[in-house]
Amino acid sequence: MSDQLNDQPDRQDFLDIESKLRELDAESLELLEPPEGVWRGIESALGKQGAEDERGAEDERVIPIEFRSRRHLKRSAWQGTTRPWRVAVSAAAALVFLIAGVTAYVLTRGDADVVVVATAALDYDAERFDPLGAQARATAELVAQDGDHVIRFVDANLPGLSSDADLEVWLIRPDEQGAVADLVSLGFIDSAVLDTLAVPVGYDPNVFSVVDISVEPRDGDPMHSGRSILRGTLQDV
């Protein structure tokens, strides 16, 4: 087993680390999420609660989480709104926009069976993403079509790749902290010909709510390469 590392120059230096690695088990690697009240307690203790309340709600922008689910955003908005009249006004406004939006999409596209139900503006993150995406942009639309969902891209500018790599589209299910809880590949897209990709049966876009495009080397590995170029959260139209 590890004695096959014998040909490495300073193997002795690693004996301690190797020993510790072997002691680890699944439980050692599992991290527990602290309850949300823990952060609120920290803020409160440091005197930030007043400023936070002034902003009206949890300000998602200051949270450097990779992404947040739509469910989380909705929950946060409701939690931050405590006055009944604000709830009523918000709900009415949302309903008007929803009806108007859906109607507009249906009318403009002239196809009553195809409805854009959510969109995601995909952004490049210079801190974390592959430099190939520096100039990239795209908007993903979640389309309800004959009872199924598909993802299609509009207003896209995607990088051309060499022959040994492809662009792959993923839907990601984030956990409450914005980390990747699960993900599913929708397939590959060509920067020149933007295909429509089906959302697989059993994957609810309300849950798998983050659209991600990654560079995938043709290395036989079906897992995400970690080289994302664009990412964004689906928002209801």
Binding site: W39, L46, D190, D195
Partner: protein
């Protein structure tokens, strides 16, 4: 080999949920496997550490979102559940107030936070022991428990170092040290040359050592 960019307008056959791939590692028993296969954490960790060291607005929340689960897990494994939340809060409050003492050149923020947490946990244990008023029994127990705290801290730091590795490197480390697979079998499973597997493991061990050494000083 992956399929090239496709021409079909709809390709549902390409859906490859990673839970299927997990079986390649024989890792079905891990309840939250994706904590291992998620995107590398090193970049966001670096950003959080820099912001924290500068004392930027929002830096503490950034650090909390990144390391809150590490600190909280440490607490849950070593103190009563009801105290774990309090100790976690104390750690981050203390860290923020003493952020001027954090020097990225001397070690990672994860190591610094683990060190603060360890001290808080031991303080907490001593406080509880004092209230127990069973001095003779308590002193023996405290030594053993302090050793346990050290052991948990060490394991968490190893796990954190593992999480920071690039995904490919992490995979071969997991297959080799968790699953006990020999290099040849890993190479065959992942369709990689044997030399690549060995160099990935070597690179991974080097990075883990680099991550741990400052914290061990």
């Amino acid at each position: 080999m992956k399929a090239p960019p496709g021409n079909p307008s709809v390709r549902s056959d390409t859906a490859t949920p990673l839970c299927t791939d997990v079986s390649l590692l024989g890792f079905r028993a891990v309840p939250r496997y994706h904590s291992l296969v998620q995107l590398p954490a090193s970049k966001t960790a670096e950003a959080a550490e820099k912001a924290f060291a500068r004392g930027d607005d929002g830096a503490l929340e950034m650090v909390y979102r990144h390391y809150g689960n590490l600190v909280y897990t440490f607490c849950r494994k070593t103190v009563e559940d009801t105290r774990a939340e309090d100790v976690t809060q104390e750690v981050f409050i203390s860290a923020w107030k003493s952020r001027n003492q954090f020097d990225p050149a001397k070690g990672s923020l994860a190591g610094w936070l683990i060190s603060i947490t360890k001290n808080r946990i031991i303080d907490n244990m001593r406080s509880e022991n004092r209230h127990a008023k069973r001095r003779a029994d308590v002193e023996t127990a405290e030594v053993a428990t302090s050793a346990e705290v050290e052991r948990v801290a060490e394991r968490l730091m190893i796990a954190e170092a593992l999480r920071r590795l690039p995904i490919d490197t992490r995979k071969v480390i997991v297959m080799h040290y968790f699953e006990g697979l020999p290099h040849g079998q890993i190479a065959a499973t992942m369709s990689l040359p044997l030399g690549t597997v060995k160099s990935n493991i070597y690179r991974g061990l080097t990075k883990i050592r680099e991550f741990l050494e400052p914290a061990n000083e």
